[in-house]
């Protein structure tokens, strides 16, 4: 790609990443949540790889970070579900809303829901990015 595309995508990618984090964190107040925010976060990274080409980014991208964050996201989600079982006796109980309820319409409210949104956003972003890496850069095929 030309120099203009590379420079503009370098300037835009942090803004898109920040917008994705905002949509994930405010998932219990505004429309959005984990899935839409995760797609936005993956879009920021995919934009950078598309602008710079697959030859240059093959040396720079670290694929173990994508798989690690995907596993950590799913593990965090299951941990939050089991936390309800340990403290309340019911699987997936909203324990934080029972013991420490915040004021409604504030950022610190609704118990377990923002943490679940963060875990799902991390997992969806890592999944989509890893699929894109696998098909576009490493050029793996389904059938050997």
């Amino acid at each position: 790609m030309t120099l203009i595309v590379k420079r503009i995508s370098q300037l835009m990618a942090p803004s898109i990443f920040l917008l994705g984090i905002y949509v994930v964190l405010h998932g219990h107040l505004t429309p959005g949540g984990g899935f839409a925010g995760g797609v936005l976060i993956a879009g920021a990274f995919v934009l950078l790889i598309l602008a710079f080409g697959s030859e240059e980014s093959r040396n720079v991208v670290l694929e173990w970070r994508a798989t690690a964050s995907e596993s950590i996201g799913l593990f965090l989600f299951w941990f939050l579900a089991v936390l309800g079982l340990m403290q309340g006796g019911i699987f997936f109980l909203n324990t934080i809303a029972k013991t420490r309820p915040g004021l409604p319409f504030h950022l610190f409210s609704a118990g377990i829901i923002p943490l679940c949104n963060v875990a799902i956003g991390m997992e969806v972003a890592a999944t989509l990015f890893s699929v894109f890496l696998c098909l576009a850069i490493f050029k793996m095929r389904e059938t050997p």
Binding site: F35, F105, F132, E142, T143
Partner: protein, 104 residues
């Protein structure tokens, strides 16, 4: 009723693509169109006339009529599950066309 008929028409466009077309990628696109039409139809069922989105804001004093939030929640899960094997289809289709003697 006209809205349901338009969503069913979109589903039938996808079905036409699956039945009639001979190119493998066009068949896959028809399959995707059918799935989008079903998600659209399912989320249209919960519409209430004169309703607002089901997000509570601070400036809501009197009880307002809200749109049904349950079909939206179910369609959210359905969209993500439908998106999931979709990046695997083009490599599978390319492998299929490469290993067989069909031309398309």
């Amino acid at each position: 009723m006209i809205v349901y008929a338009l969503a069913i028409l979109l589903f039938l466009v996808g079905l036409y693509g699956v039945l009639v077309k001979r190119n493998l990628f066009k068949i896959l696109i028809g399959l995707s169109i059918m799935e989008y039409a079903i998600n659209l139809l399912f989320s249209l069922i919960g519409y209430r006339s004169g309703g607002v989105p089901p997000i509570l804001t601070e400036s809501m004093k009197q009880p307002v009529t809200m749109v049904d939030p349950i079909p939206q929640a179910l369609v959210l899960t359905a969209i993500v599950i439908g998106l999931e094997p979709r990046p695997c289809w083009p490599p599978l289709a390319l492998g299929f066309t490469r290993n067989t003697t069909r031309s398309t």
